[in-house]
Amino acid sequence: MRNKSFFILLPLFALLACMVIGAIFSIDYLKDQNQIIRDKFEGNRWAIPALVYARPLELYAGLQLAPGILEKELQLAGYRNEQPVQSAGGYFRNENSFEIITRDFVYPTGPEPSTRIQVNFRGNRIDQLTAADQGKNLPFIRIDPARIGSFHPLVHEDRLLLQADDVPELLSLGLIAVEDKSYYSHHGIDPVGIARALVANIKAGRTVQGGSTLTQQLVKNFFLNRERTLERKIQEAVMALLLDFNYSKEEILTAYLNEVFLGQDGSRAIHGFGLASYFYFQRDLKNLSVAQIATLIGMIKGPSYYDPRRNPERCKQRRNTVLDVMYADNLIDKEAYEQALAAPISDIAPRESGLNRFPAFLDLVHQQLKDDYDEKDLKSNGLKILTTLDPQTQWTVEEQLQKSYETLSKRSGNDSLQGAAIVTGRDSGEVLALSGSIQPLDSGFNRALRAKRLVGSVIKPVIYLAAIDQGYTLASPIMDQAVELEIDGNIWKPRNYSRREYGRVPLYKALSKSYNLATVNLGLDIGLPSVIETLHKLGYDEQVDAYPSLLLGAVNMTPFEMSQLYQTIGSGGFYQPLRAIESVMGPDNKLLTRYGLKVEQRFSPEQIFLITHAMERVMTEGTGAGYSPARQYRFAGKTGTTNDLRDSWFAGFSDNHIGVVWLGNDDNSSSKLTGSSGALRVWVDLFTQLDPSVNEPVQPADIVWQRIDEQTLEATGAYNHSTMLPFIRGTEPHTFWEEPARHLQRFEDGARRFFDQMGNIMN
C-alpha cells in the first residue's frame, strides 16, 4: 500500500515540482525581459552622435555679401528652392531679391522662431531686409546654421529625434491604417491578425502578409537581432505584451517613428521619420504634404525597393496604395486625395550633403572638444556643437589653395606640392576657416594641425617684437654683418639669402628685407631667453631650446601654432586662444559649455603698432613687395623660407582677418618655392578676396611720427633718402630745430671731445 501510494505520488510530486520550477523560471524570465525593456526604453534609447553646426549667417542691411553666396549658404544649410515659398526651410531667388522662410532654431541665447523674410541686394551688398509678413524693416536676423558634421562610428545609424508633439496626426493615423489597424485595441500582439495572415499565407503558398503589430516590429528592431527562430518569435511576443503593458500607446508609437529604418546614405543609415523627412524632402516633418507623408509610410515596407530617387515609379505606386487606404479610412477628403495622387513623387533634386564637407575643420573641433568631453559623450549623447566655421571664408580658402596649386605646381614643376591654410577673425580669435590639404575633401593628414615644419623667417617678428619690448625703436641701428658661433662644437655661420652683408641698417628694414645677419646680431644682443619669453607670451606652449639658430626659425611648428602667434600680434597684443567652438548644448537645448571671448594683454598697443608698421613695410618695400597686388592694401605680414626651399610660409593680417599659409612637400623634399614665390601669392590672392578694404590700423595716443635719415638713422627734416617712422612717445629722435639746445649741447660735447683729442695729439 505504502509502495503503491509512493509510485502514484512520485510523478505527481515530480509534476508539481516541474510546475513550481517552471513557474519560478517563467516569472524570472518575464522579470528579465521586463528589465531589458525598461532599461532600454527609459534610458537613452538611441546613441545620437553630436551634431556640429557652422556659424549662423547674420543678415542685416549694409552687409557685404554676393547674392550667389547667400544662395550657396542657404543650400549648405539644407534650404529648398521653391516657388511659392511654402514653409520653413524654403527660399526663392529672383535675381537680386530673395524670399526666405528661416527655420526655428534654439541658440544658447534662446529659441528664435521661423520668420518669413525678404532680402534685397544692391550689387554685392544687402540693401533692405524686411519681415515679409509685416512689411517692416528688420535690423538683423540670422539664418539657422548649416549642419556640417557629426561624430559617429564609421558605419552608423543617424536620426533626428521626434517628440510626440512633433508628429503630424495624418502620419500616425496613416501609419496605423496601413501597418496595424487594430493598434489601439490590441495588447501588443494581435491574434486575429496573426490568424488572418496565416490563412492568407497558406492560401498563397508563400508569405504575402505579415501579422506583426507595430509593437512587435518595434521590439524586433529595438531589442532583438534579426534571428528567425521560434524562440525569438516567442521572446518577441512576450516583449511586445510587456511593452504594451508598461507604456502608453503614444509612447510606443513615437518610439516606432524614431526607430524605423527608412533608407541608406553611404555608411549612414537613415532612421526615423524626422531625419527621413529632411533626407528625402528637405522639410521639417510638420511641413510635409499628404503625398510626401504617404510616400514615407509606403517606404517602411522596403526602403531600398521603394526608394523615391532610385525607383520613383515603384515608389509612386506604393504611395498611391497608401493614399487609397487613407482615403478609404476617411483620413483625407476626396480633394486632398486627388491632389496627392497627382503630385510628383519628389520635388527635390538630390543635393550635395553638407555633412562632413569640411573634414579638416571638424578635426579641429574634435581636438578642442576632447579637453571637455570624452569620446562616448560625442558619439552618443546628442550634443549640439555650435562652431565658428564661416562657410564663405572656407570656400574661398579651398578655391584659392586649389587655384594656386595649379599655377604654382606648373611653374615650379612640383606635382607633389601640398599646403595648409588657416583664417581667423582678427579681434575675435575665432577660427573661420581651416584647410589641411590642397584637396578640400581630403580627410587624411591634416597639415594645418599636425604638420610640424621648420618655420624660417616667418618667426622673425617675434625677435623684433622682443627687441621693441626692450626699448629698441624702428630706427635703431642693427649691424648686418657676418657672425660665427660655436654650437655644440660646430661652427654656425649664418648668411643672408642674397649672400651679401648690408652693414648698419635700421631695425624696420632688417625685418622688412628679412636680413638674417642683422636678425642674428639683434637676437644675440637682446638674448635668446628674451626671444623665447616673447614666443611664449605670444602663445606658443611647447618647450624651445635656446639655440641661436632659433633666431632664423630653426623650430618646428604647425601652421595652427603659427596662427596663434600672429593672432596675438594681429589682435593688438592681446592673447586669445584660437577657438573653433562657440558653445555646446545638450539634446534638450540646455547650454552646457560656452567658449566665449577672452582676452589677455601681453604687449602694449604701442609696441604692436611699431611691429605692425615694420610688417607693413614687408609688403610695400620688403620681401612681400615682389607680388604687386600686395602693395595696394595695407596688409602686414612676413614671409618664411627654409633651407633648400623645403617650406614656403606666409603669415599676416588684413583689416579683419589673420591668416597663415604653408606650402611644402610631405616628404620634406624641396618645394622649389620661397615664401615670396609661393605662400605669399596664395595669401595675397586669398586676402584680397576676403578683405578688399585698405587696412586702417588704430593709432594709439602715445605714437608720434618722425622723419628719419636712412643713412645716419637720425631725425631729419629733409625728404631725400629719409622715411617717416612711428615711435613710442619719448623714444623718438629729434631734429636740430625741434630741440636746438640739446643738439647744440651734443655738438659742443662732440667738438670738445674732438679738440681734446687734437690737443692731446699736438701735445
Binding site: 547674420e58 542685416y60 542691411a61 549694409g62 552687409l63 541658440y107 544658447p108 541665447t109 534662446g110 535690423p139 538683423f140 577673425g425 582678427r426 579681434d427 575675435s428 593688438g572 597684443g573 592681446f574 547650454l591 560656452r594 566665449g596 571671448l597 577672452k598 582676452v599 589677455e600 594683454q601 598697443p605 595695407r634 579683419n656 585698405v694 586702417e696 590700423p697 588704430v698 593709432q699 594709439p700 595716443a701 608720434v704 611720427w705 618722425q706 622723419r707 627734416g717 629733409a718 625728404y719 622715411t723 617717416m724 631734429t735 636740430f736 630745430w737 647744440l744 655738438f747 659742443e748 667738438a751 670738445r752 679738440f755 690737443g759
Partner: protein, 191 residues
C-alpha cells in the same frame, strides 16, 4: 698749462659752431620742412585720428557731444554695492555710440537691455554678435568689460577695458571711462 689750453680752444669751438649753425640755417631755408602729425603722402597713407569712428557728419565722433564739459561716466558701475544681486540703481543706457551699421547698434541695445536685467550670459553672447559686425568699436569692448565686471570676473574686465582702450585713439572720454572701470576692478581684486 691746462688753463692756457682751455683758453686757446674756446675761439675754435665758437668758430666751428658758427659755421655749422650757418650751414644748418641755410639748409633749413632751402627745404620746406613739414613734419605732419600723421603722414599723408602716398608713401604713408593717412592714419585716421580715431579709426573706430569715422568723423563724417553722419557719424559724429562720440566725445564731441559734450564739448568742454567734464567727461561724464555714461555708465554707472556700482562701486560700493555688492553686485551679486540686481544692481542697486537701474542702468542708465550708455549714450548711443555712433555705429557703422544699424545691426550692430541694435544688437548692442539688446545686450544693454539684457545687462539691465542682469542676464549676463545673454548680454555677453549678444555683444559678441555686435563685435563680429564691428570688431573695432571701443564702446562695445567697454560694454563687454562691464558685463564681465558684473559677473565678478574682474581680471577679464580689466583686460577687456585695455582692449577697449586700444581702440580709443584720441577719444579721451573712452579712455577715461575705461580707466575708471579698471580702477574699480583692481580694487575688487584687492578686496
Amino acid at each position: 698749462m691746462e688753463t692756457s689750453n682751455g683758453k686757446n680752444r674756446t675761439p675754435h669751438i665758437c668758430r666751428a659752431a658758427l659755421v655749422i649753425a650757418m650751414a644748418l640755417f641755410l639748409h633749413g631755408c632751402s627745404t620746406k620742412r613739414v613734419v605732419p602729425p600723421y603722414p599723408g603722402t602716398p608713401e604713408h597713407p593717412q592714419y585716421p585720428a580715431s579709426p573706430t569712428y569715422p568723423t563724417s557728419p553722419s557719424y559724429p565722433s562720440y566725445p564731441s557731444e559734450l564739448p568742454g564739459e567734464p567727461t561724464q561716466l555714461p555708465e554707472d558701475i556700482p562701486l560700493e554695492q555688492p553686485i551679486t544681486t540686481e544692481p542697486a540703481t537701474p542702468l542708465r543706457p550708455l549714450e548711443e555710440p555712433p555705429s557703422q551699421t544699424g545691426a550692430a547698434a541694435a544688437l548692442y541695445q539688446t545686450a544693454r537691455e539684457a545687462l539691465g536685467k542682469s542676464e549676463y550670459k545673454q548680454a555677453e553672447m549678444t555683444m559678441e554678435r555686435a563685435l563680429r559686425i564691428e570688431p573695432r568699436n571701443g564702446y562695445y569692448w567697454y560694454t563687454m568689460a562691464q558685463i564681465k565686471y558684473r559677473q565678478q570676473d574682474y581680471s577679464q574686465a580689466i583686460n577687456l577695458c585695455l582692449k577697449s582702450k586700444s581702440f580709443a585713439g584720441q577719444d579721451y572720454n573712452l579712455v577715461e571711462i575705461n580707466d575708471s572701470l579698471i580702477a574699480s576692478a583692481r580694487q575688487k581684486l584687492v578686496e
